[in-house]
């Protein structure tokens, strides 16, 4: 199984090298599968890049806690409030794309063309080229990017989509790893 995963990962990587895939920033096992997302109680994983004037530290990443009118709340070891005006770019991963799995299917699909005899000279490239494009496209599907997209697209995938609850003890809010 580990070998299979490695093969999938290698193929996915190859696809991404050719067509470009969205690199994942979330810790291992952080993101839920699409099927698990409706029951997942945490926010998506967000990575921010500050404007040059804002901070010495160029970027930060963590669980998206909430977005209010002028601030974005992100949690890793501690909750941090960041002014939206200080954010140059952001990338949210809402759920797992499983693009590596798709890379594996493309690999199998390419292998399956051996049953086509000599016709594989037509069908194998269809799988390799088309499959790589599909894998690349899949890796981008769960991703929301700022400034390309509005902040309002980020909010539903926050831990508190309604905004930070009033009266909540902020020091208690931390990134919650999956148990």
């Amino acid at each position: 199984m580990r070998s299979h995963n490695r093969t999938c990962a290698i193929l996915s990587l190859l696809s991404c090298l050719v067509w470009g895939c969205a690199p994942t920033n979330a810790p291992r096992d952080w993101l839920a599968s699409p099927e698990g997302t409706p029951r997942d109680v945490r926010g998506g994983w967000v990575k921010l890049q500050y404007t040059s004037a804002a901070k010495a530290k160029a970027q930060i990443s963590g669980e998206l806690i909430a977005i209010s009118g002028d601030s974005l709340f992100i949690a890793n070891d501690a909750l941090q409030a960041i002014a939206l005006s200080n954010i140059k770019s952001a990338q949210l991963e809402a759920y797992r794309s499983n693009s590596a799995g798709m890379g594996g299917l493309v690999f199998l699909g390419t292998l399956s063309t051996i049953s086509n005899g000599l016709l594989l000279i037509f069908t194998a490239p269809v799988w390799i080229i088309g499959g790589s494009i599909a894998t690349s496209a899949r890796s981008f599907e769960p991703i929301i990017k700022y400034p390309k997209q509005e902040w309002s697209r980020f909010s539903p995938f926050a831990r508190y989509p309604q905004g930070l609850p009033v009266g909540l003890a902020r020091q208690q809010i931390k990134m919650r790893p999956r148990k």
Binding site: S33, P34, E35, T37, P38, R39, V41, R42, A94, Y95, R96, N98, G101, M102, L105, V106, L108, G109, L111, S112, T113, I114, S115, N116, G117, L119, F122, T123, V126, W127, G130, G131, I133, A134, T135, A137, R138, E141, P142, S155, P156, F157, R159, Y160, P161, Q162, P165, V166, G167, L168, Q172, I173, K174, R176
Partner: protein, 532 residues
């Protein structure tokens, strides 16, 4: 020799693995295998409360889980959720989490809308990328099917003859199907059982619909005079018998039960079985029962054609010949391999007609043998005068090798003489072709046709055509064009096995044939050659 066998086994194994992978892909993609997108929507309590019941139901169906985000940061994740009748609460089964997302409680909950901050629904939709992979899988599968199906299921077997049945042109005969080399040139008589003719002119359309070269020595019409309402049948010795009446069987018992219905009329509704999955030479029996037989001379009438099993075996033999097909066909031409070739034919056999002797043993009376999977031919097996007014007759044949369209007992009067008619005019593509006409009328010459050629043969009847039962006598041979796909299977060891040890070959080929058997007929008829 061993290396060849191993190499073939490896290629087959690789193909099988490819097909398994393709099937697994289809299964994985059907389930989308985790490639879904999540459409998340948030709704305020006020908006949620105003939703009409139909929209609420649609939301519930699309999103089985409802997340209820509370003003204090708590969260309910509810399944089987609904609004209560007052529309003041949401009810459901699920879990309650605090703001830190620790689990507080699980069970049945009723949540008041006044303390809810926002509702969240999640709808799963298949990713568009899955559609792309499904298309690729479809292309691969289609190519695989073509590879499985095309090499030995292409339309073939001899000239085809079309005659009007009063409504439209109907395939009624195929000529000399077994004559695959010049030395095997043969004469074939086919009943034009469904021909509908009036007046003194009669037309037959002769086509070459396969990748074959046909050499037609002659195509004569045999017109046998008959009394009104009577039919004439031909036996295997070339004699024609007028029949006073036809008695249908009262039962036809085969392995699947009573298969009488398709045998009562020569209407194209055929009885056939599937080949044996372990040995293609395995036999089956159909027992026909007749009652109220008058004390007269009679004969068994059978309407039948072959299935595509013999065609498959013929093409497989050509495939094993590969590049040496010319050499082997020449050997067949010189009759150097005739005996061996017949041994495979002998195992596959014809339709044996068996009659019970006084001691109760079943004896073979005659064998019906008609090559070709295209047109149903009508055969007569004279039985003489039966001792009893009831009779049981058995038909023994290779499973999956024959399609039976008609069975009856004919009360015979006497043999009758046929009038031989050569075509008086031949047209090619609607234009009179004197050369073709001369070739068909001179026994020293022959008409050669190529794929897509169509000739109309016109005959002048001595009297009105309705007064005759019509038969077509064709003579010639044909040459199969060796397909590129076949050459890949060249294997002298397996070829030798076909000739020298056909039983083993028929066991070995059984699983391969069973894989294509169901779709063979369909692919065969779709691969008819027509000029572009």
């Amino acid at each position: 020799m061993t290396a060849l066998t191993n190499s073939e086994s490896t290629i087959r194994l690789v193909h099988v693995i490819g097909r398994i992978i393709a099937l697994s892909l289809v299964a994985a993609l059907m389930g989308c295998a985790g490639f879904k997108n999540v459409k998340r929507e948030t709704t305020t309590p006020a908006s949620f409360q105003k939703l009409p019941e139909s929209q609420l139901k649609a939301k519930r169906d699309a999103s089985p889980f409802l997340k209820v985000h509370m003003q204090n940061g708590n969260l309910y994740v509810l399944a089987a959720w609904k609004m209560d009748t007052t529309r003041q609460h949401v009810v459901g089964q699920g879990m309650l989490f605090n703001a830190r997302r620790d689990t507080l409680r699980q069970g049945q909950f009723q949540v008041g809308l006044d303390s809810v901050a926002i509702f969240e629904t999640n709808v799963l939709k298949p990713s568009g990328t899955v559609a792309a992979l499904t298309v690729f899988t479809g292309i691969t599968a289609a190519m695989t099917i073509v590879c499985i199906a095309s090499p030995k299921t292409c339309f073939g077997s001899c000239p085809t003859f079309y005659v009007s049945d009063g409504d439209s042109l109907r395939l009624q005969a195929e000529g000399f199907s077994a004559s695959i080399a010049p030395s095997l040139e043969a004469t074939d008589v086919d009943a034009l059982f469904h021909a509908s003719a009036a007046g003194e002119n009669f037309e037959i359309e002769m086509r070459n619909e396969a990748l074959e070269t046909h050499v037609v020595r002659h195509a004569d019409l045999l017109a046998v005079p008959r009394a009104k309402g009577r039919r004439v049948f031909a036996d295997r010795d070339g004699r024609f018998w007028e029949s006073r009446s036809l008695i249908p069987p009262v039962s036809a018992i085969a392995a699947e039960g009573n298969c009488l219905a398709p045998l009562l009329r020569a209407d194209g509704n055929e009885r056939f079985s599937k080949a044996d999955s372990t040995y293609l030479g395995a036999k089956e029996i159909i027992e026909l029962e007749f009652e109220n037989i008058p004390p007269q001379s009679c004969g068994l009438v059978i309407g039948c054609r072959q299935t595509l099993l013999p065609t498959y075996l013929l093409y497989q033999t050509f495939a094993y010949m590969g590049n040496d097909a010319g050499y082997w066909l020449a050997q067949i031409g010189r009759r150097n391999v005739k005996q061996h070739q017949n041994s495979l034919q002998k195992i596959m056999g014809g339709i044996e007609v068996l009659f019970q002797d006084p001691s109760g043993d079943w004896k073979i009376v005659k064998q019906i043998y008609e090559h070709g999977p295209l047109a149903t031919d009508i055969h007569l097996v004279p039985l003489g005068r039966l001792a009893d007014n009831a009779a049981k007759i058995r038909l023994r044949m290779t499973k999956g090798n024959w399609r039976l369209d008609y069975a009856a007992l004919a009360m015979l009067s006497q043999p009758v003489q046929a009038i031989r008619l050569q075509p008086h005019q031949v047209l090619k593509d609607g234009v009179v072709d004197e050369q073709a006409h001369a070739a068909l009328c001179d026994s020293a010459t022959a008409l050669t046709t190529l794929p897509g050629d169509t000739y109309t043969l016109r005959y002048q009847m001595p009297a009105t055509a309705e007064a005759y039962e019509l038969f077509l006598e064709s003579r010639g041979y044909y040459l199969e064009w060796i397909r590129k796909e076949w050459i890949a299977e060249e294997n002298s060891f397996l070829l030798a096995q076909m000739f020298l040890d056909p039983q083993t070959a028929l066991k070995r080929l059984a699983p391969e044939f069973k894989r294509v058997e169901a779709e063979m007929e369909n692919y065969f008829w779709r691969s008819r050659y027509a000029k572009p």
